[in-house]
Symmetry: D2
Subunit: 338 residues, 4 copies
Amino acid sequence: MLVVMHHWATDDDIERVKDTIKSLGLRPVAIPGAERTAIGVIGNQGWIDDGPLSDIKGIREIIHITKPFKLVSRDFHPRDTVVRLGKDLRIGGRSPFLMIAGPCALESREQVMKTAQFLIKCGVPVLRGGAFKPRTSPHSFQGLREEGLGILKEVREETGIKVVTEVMSPEHVEMVAESVDILQIGARNMQNFDLLRDVGQLKKPVILKRGLSATLEEWLASAEYILLEGNPNVILCERGIRTFERATRNTADLSVIPLVRKTSHLPIIFDPSHATGKRDLVLPMALAAVVVGAQGVMIEVHPEPERALSDGPQSLNFREFRKVYKKIIDLVEFVKGA
Amino acid sequence: MLVVMHHWATDDDIERVKDTIKSLGLRPVAIPGAERTAIGVIGNQGWIDDGPLSDIKGIREIIHITKPFKLVSRDFHPRDTVVRLGKDLRIGGRSPFLMIAGPCALESREQVMKTAQFLIKCGVPVLRGGAFKPRTSPHSFQGLREEGLGILKEVREETGIKVVTEVMSPEHVEMVAESVDILQIGARNMQNFDLLRDVGQLKKPVILKRGLSATLEEWLASAEYILLEGNPNVILCERGIRTFERATRNTADLSVIPLVRKTSHLPIIFDPSHATGKRDLVLPMALAAVVVGAQGVMIEVHPEPERALSDGPQSLNFREFRKVYKKIIDLVEFVKGA
Amino acid sequence: MLVVMHHWATDDDIERVKDTIKSLGLRPVAIPGAERTAIGVIGNQGWIDDGPLSDIKGIREIIHITKPFKLVSRDFHPRDTVVRLGKDLRIGGRSPFLMIAGPCALESREQVMKTAQFLIKCGVPVLRGGAFKPRTSPHSFQGLREEGLGILKEVREETGIKVVTEVMSPEHVEMVAESVDILQIGARNMQNFDLLRDVGQLKKPVILKRGLSATLEEWLASAEYILLEGNPNVILCERGIRTFERATRNTADLSVIPLVRKTSHLPIIFDPSHATGKRDLVLPMALAAVVVGAQGVMIEVHPEPERALSDGPQSLNFREFRKVYKKIIDLVEFVKGA
Amino acid sequence: MLVVMHHWATDDDIERVKDTIKSLGLRPVAIPGAERTAIGVIGNQGWIDDGPLSDIKGIREIIHITKPFKLVSRDFHPRDTVVRLGKDLRIGGRSPFLMIAGPCALESREQVMKTAQFLIKCGVPVLRGGAFKPRTSPHSFQGLREEGLGILKEVREETGIKVVTEVMSPEHVEMVAESVDILQIGARNMQNFDLLRDVGQLKKPVILKRGLSATLEEWLASAEYILLEGNPNVILCERGIRTFERATRNTADLSVIPLVRKTSHLPIIFDPSHATGKRDLVLPMALAAVVVGAQGVMIEVHPEPERALSDGPQSLNFREFRKVYKKIIDLVEFVKGA
């Protein structure tokens, strides 16, 4: 349930609404906004009898919500969220298209520095790179972990590039947040609810990847966990879903991008590398994401893909990336003008 | 197994190859080509011992094939197939992007004629419309059937528009082929092998839709049935696959489009109406198909979608279609120039 | 819509109901029953205004049905359907558990005769064997076709065993029906609606396999096509659905069996061979089917599985089958007593 | 890679093997066994050149492993693992069939105590109940959390029943482990690798549920994370996978049970409540699990399912449970005798 107040409602009115909600055994969450203040109600099982609220002054509307999310919904927050990624960098709304690139896994200081310098030259403002790697098998390379964070921090300070890395565990949230500009929640952790709550208590931007078999509704409900803790800076990232098709690693669900844009105010980007698992498909699918309304892409690039410790077959080398980058930028320009 | 002959191989050489294949209990299929003649071998279970062929003159190469298809493969036929749809209309290779539009189901002469006239004014050369409708329930509208074919024939003769309609049964192949320019095999019939064989005995172009849960490999193997009977005029059509996601009717698998273009020489189009089931998603997904390399799109349009007997929620009205059409054409132009 | 008459309703009352339905542009289908007569209404798009029926005498109840099936529903026909497969053989209701076994594909007279004699000795009353084989690739063995039907006919006459074989095309329905006791519609043809209609015009029992990605609702709607044409002798067969899991050929959906028994009056059997694709899993999964309420199983057995032209890895040899058979029968006995 | 030592190999031999492995930049993990000592090699990307090991004394065999798991494999540990759940309670090998039951979510001391007393009377040795609830939406009941653990501890001490509860976060592992007998890793956390590592450092038994869209291989690889840290007491639990079928909450994949028994030495149980989401299907599917080789079941039971705060529609009341329990036990007896 959402209690929307009139613009002229007083603080007293709002307090009375909150108290009444508490008296029903529920938890009120005030959501102040430029246009209107609203009070979300948390903790109900099914329908709430709104009778006790009926004679409180200042209530404009009571909205009963049956979806598993409220705060992430466009019904609730009609304007696009703009997430600030740094002084001059934004995503969402009318912000420029965002390019993120880098290796799947951090492997060495040299590899990361080389990539960062290459990306800066290209004009790519954000470097991705995994320090903690969620690998199916414990026998696969698990990432450089703390050492990787140190490398990221160094490269970021030295070059000025923004960096994003995955955080896999509540225990690491603080440490990771200190080392990077953007946190990533991976597909396998989309429903790691304690982790979601923990990154919700920061203000740092969070890229939330869609789970391997998550529906749109579940994905948005996971984002809701983060917003509900107070962090509105969530960027959704489609990375393919699991189907019976074996010709690609996953099946990119591009139609979810316009659906997200319609249902939610949060920005959304696309990861063509994981969605397809094939180097050749990165360019066409990235272009497709541009035209369906993605606000950015995240692409795997590696100085030597054939020697990558993780996901080599889907990584581009520098030469390939430069070509892909140019094609994407050209299409973005065209779409903007169209 | 594929026996590729030298360009200088004689008819005698070819005959000897065929005879040897027959002596192994297998069936030879000669596939003449501008560049080289090849002889496919049909009917083997697993590996064939090619020893008996080793001393025949004129054999350039023996290719052992483990995929379930040969003729549709680009290995076998490197150049794009161009399918002629009429005097001045083609698809494939460098042919212009093909627009197909029309109602899901034919409902009346008036509805079809109105739509045809509208499409001609727009510049859309092919009208789609189902006379025989494969409906989940026998209690749903099953199409106008023979009467629908009559309407198509009339409208086609009167307006000159090309028409495509689905054929659901071997018994109707001849009748349908006489009434229309292009036959369609629907998703539910992608593995109706007798039907595939029957349309393979015609020369009319065939649009072969991907099955609801068909892999790329199975889809191409179904196309192989048609080519093997002698009809090379197959156009593949991606229309979404079945997944757990419920926000869309199906999940459009756009990455299959560049995969088809790489693996096969056959042209491929995309049906955003069935792939999404939602009117709002038709435009973005059609645009996405353009940039990933689709050679055409098939879109549902209806004079009055709210009164459609089938698939109203995914059909555009004329005004909406005009806007969608223009956006697609603009993007096609951009992509051509890029 | 279903119009249920009182037991005392007269023929005149029934006629008046039918006429009123026709006057609404719909088609009445009378379904006489021991307990009550009901009149199904076919051909509506959505909700029917039942006002015109309100003053007809003898109507006990008007049931609006929103599911895509009526005749197959237990609401409509509360008692189990018993399908007669021959003089002394039945399936459904309290009939004994039905065993069907045989090779995936018919390969030779000798193979079929040997198998039939073995099965008779075991006590298995029905032999399965494909004459027409729906194969993904046209380069795979397509079955002995007409020759296979001849073999089945011969073996059936000589040994007295009942036989079931798949029919893939409306063109072959008559010919196949003359040669066998039970027709089978394969998974790939579950939505080959013209084929369903054609077998619906016979009285011969039909085994209708579930489609590779068919929902329960779609499967029952396909059975409805057969019943609507007048053939009530439908046996459903679960054979696994397509999922992302690669350790088995398909994923057996055993929970669909009790759901079918609850929703429909039609008998249901299980095919553990296709559902798993692995010889080792045939026994455990067949036993599981027994306890969830399957009324029979269909198992692939071959004199020499390692030389089978189709599906060898999931076929049992005679020795293995004997053991499996005994285990199944023991469990069936136990369940009956429990 | 796995280096299997002769039974007569000395500690020196083993050390030399370990040192050589380290010198290759890899990590040796000694796995002592009654029959033979083996040394697993961790950290390799692809094939390892085993040349440097060739002249070390005491090596019986070098096994190159390409699967993502080693320790959980039956190749590696041929005999069934028996997990001790308390003084007189075991699962695995020839241990008796294990019954676990209880509410989805802990709601109050009274609810839990009532259920525990009921289960003890029935003869059920383990109570399940969630203190921390992973819920799709943050607006749903999240469990009593710490308070719930307190209730479990109390009930366990007072009644002597064993208890299992889910742990969702590394931060809670210690606290949960102190309160209960068995830890559960839920489906959504099957690839929460840090959590797996943390429970791997305990000796407490862990029930590891299969992820919503996990393959058998991925599931076993997740178990490998736990074993690799030193905790061999893992019990696998199949709870249904996500498919397109909407008639059940998930699709129970029963064939995975015999596959697990063949591939791994770990015990496996089945959760028919989550696998189906429907009360009516709990009994038949639990019985099916018994016959395919499950070594236990976990069933949701609630004093008043219609008032449950979570998963009411799939919970049995006490009367229903008693009937289900009896049927399962009878079948277990039959299977044992068969």
